[in-house]
């Protein structure tokens, strides 16, 4: 459905009671450390554009000169995130969220709408192992770990493999070369899930010294519409002690933090964060940021530092005063869900040292934004320059061939991209690499 159509329908239905809001700006104005922030506009019916999934049908995403992209594995069911084991085996998390409860009439309609833009396949809630052959073609595939509960994050520390289910971090014994885990696993800690579980993806990483795990726990609502009580210990990054399972909130006010990664030169923790919806096509910018120990980043009371969100009551001036401005805006409604720092040497020099971000795209903007993988150059551990589109062609005006989610770097230095609705893992390499 096009924005114009919706506007016409809305105007007709409401007898021209309301206008349709501001025209969307060029998203590039919001990329970088100081994004342009327009005034808040609250709609009667927010502009929405839900892409119809059409699939790739043999086509591939578009990449710039100097690199090439190939399908590493196809026919997967909702691959959401990726993890590369030390021996080069690739773990593909085939996962999906729980069915949301209907607590208002709106949620019934939203569920109908979102159905269209997601994978038709029932997510198998498992991890599939892919072992590429020497020439890069998939030689071997195995169901690595089955019967999980909406898994997302994976990290290996020594011989302990951690999987972040939506309701807890599990630990499994792993030996190099293993292609299937049958051990039952032990729960290291619970994570907030419960009957609502609005943002269900729990991103996971380990500290460089391996003593702590960090788990991203998204908010339980867009903007506290399920009550502030539902947000306990959410919109936060948990720090979990690997030995005891004890946890503390490392940072808070992060609406939906994903792609947790330690920057390789400074060893600072970075995340990409999905910001709030329904304040207009260019609010609120999604962002990537270094995450400070004890830092508060605004949600729900404010956005981009101290910009107050009028939808949250009671207000909290004390917390707003503490809100940290994020490091780097990716522009609004791009829905970043994956991030990886490029430490390999296969890709051209222009892609070394910075971060790739997988932008899944959102329903809450027309025209769409995101649906691509971008590269942000870094210098001295900080973003240095404008984000560049790298992998595009996932969506046209209102049709989606695929949607990028999690990213990883394989042992050969290729960039791996999980494409959930496309059911594919893409591998981006140098153009000089023969297939």
């Amino acid at each position: 459905m096009r924005r114009a159509h919706l506007c016409v329908a809305t105007l007709a239905a409401l007898g021209a009671l309301s206008g349709c809001g501001p025209a969307p700006i060029d998203p590039h104005r919001q990329v970088g450390a100081n994004p342009y922030l327009p005034a808040i506009h609250q709609y009667l019916l927010p502009p929405m554009l839900v892409s119809k999934v059409v699939g790739w049908n043999g086509a591939t995403p578009t990449v710039p000169a100097g690199v090439r992209i190939d399908a590493l594995a196809t026919g997967l069911k909702n691959p959401r995130s990726l993890y590369v084991l030390p021996n080069g085996d690739i773990l593909v998390v085939e996962s999906g969220g729980p069915k949301p409860p209907i607590s208002r009439p709106k949620e019934y309609f939203m569920a109908l709408l979102e159905k269209k833009s997601h994978s038709k396949a029932d997510p198998p809630q498992r991890i599939t192992l892919i072992r590429p052959a020497a020439n890069g073609a998939p030689a071997f595939r195995s169901i690595f770990l089955d019967h999980l509960n909406s898994p997302f994050g994976v990290v290996l520390v020594g011989a302990d493999l951690y999987v972040a289910n939506t309701d807890g971090v599990m630990r499994y014994p792993y030996q190099t070369g293993q292609t299937r885990i049958t051990a039952p696993g032990v729960q290291l800690t619970e994570l907030p899930a419960g009957p609502i579980n609005h943002h269900w993806t729990k991103s996971l990483t380990a500290s460089p010294d391996g003593t702590k795990l960090y788990a991203g726990v998204g908010s339980n609502s867009n903007i506290t519409e399920n009550g502030i009580g539902a947000e306990k210990d959410r919109a936060a990054i948990w720090e979990i002690d690997r030995a005891t399972g004890a946890h503390r909130l490392y940072a808070t006010g992060l609406r939906n933090p994903n792609g947790l990664t330690f920057e390789p030169t400074t060893h600072a923790l970075w995340a990409v964060v999905n910001e709030r919806d329904e304040l207009g096509p260019d609010l609120v910018p999604d962002y990537m940021t270094s995450v400070r120990d004890g830092g508060f980043y605004g949600w729900p009371w404010s956005y981009w530092g101290r910009h107050i969100d009028p939808r949250v009551m009671p207000r909290n001036p004390a917390m707003v005063a503490k809100a940290i401005m994020p490091d780097y805006s990716l522009s609004s409604h791009v829905a970043p869900l994956g991030m990886v720092f490029y430490t390999g040497s296969l890709l051209p020099a222009a892609y070394r040292g910075g971060a790739f971000v997988g932008e899944h795209g959102s329903w809450d903007r027309a025209p769409i934004n995101g649906y691509k993988v971008v590269y942000i150059p870094f210098a001295n551990g900080r973003p240095a320059g404008a984000a560049q589109d790298v992998v595009t062609g996932f969506a046209s005006k209102n049709e989606a061939r695929g949607r990028p989610v999690g990213l990883a770097i394989d042992n050969g230095g290729g960039l791996l991209i999980a494409d959930d609705v496309g059911g594919t893992v893409w591998r981006m390499t140098s153009a000089t690499v023969a297939r």
Binding site: N226, D277, P314
Partner: protein, 153 residues
């Protein structure tokens, strides 16, 4: 011998359907104002959820209420000759339009789904319902619309 009373065209076994159904949206829309006030005073989202459901239920039944009202209005020339019928119909059309608007406002997330626009619309709707209700009662109790002819008290 009394004159024939104005007829209700949309009827079930001789009983006018419009007056059977109209209490449902009235109660729903009055309820919306009450739960909006409760939300405004407490900021407890559950009250705003009540409002959203009440509005939706009221609007769904209003489809039938409006339909039977329009049929009654156009079904008998004598109904159209009554001034109160015009006021009743016009004000109720306004109630419907405002309530549709209100349902969209209530579909927002958080505080601004109710305060200030939502609760204001809910209050205006209840005030308008008093006007349309008063005229609706006149139609039945003074002009005997839909009352069986030849009956006496």
């Amino acid at each position: 011998m009394q004159a024939e009373n104005p007829r209700s065209t949309a009827r079930l076994f001789g009983r006018p359907i419009h007056v059977m159904l109209v209490p449902v949206p009235i109660v729903c829309f009055v309820g919306t104002l009450l739960t909006d006030i409760a939300y405004w005073r407490t900021a407890n989202m559950q009250w705003a959820n009540f409002s959203a459901w009440l509005l939706t239920a009221g609007l769904l039944v209003s489809i039938l209420v409006a339909l039977t009202g329009v049929i009654d209005f156009f079904g008998d020339r004598r109904v159209r000759g009554i001034g109160a019928a015009w006021i009743h119909g016009t004000v109720n059309a306004l109630v419907l339009a405002l309530s549709i608007w209100n349902a969209f406002v209530h579909s927002r997330d958080g505080y601004t789904s109710v305060v200030p626009t939502g609760i204001t619309l809910s209050a205006i709707v209840v005030a308008l319902l008093l006007v349309s209700g008063w005229n609706g009662w006149s139609l039945v109790y003074r002009h005997r619309v839909g009352v069986r002819s030849g009956t006496s008290g």
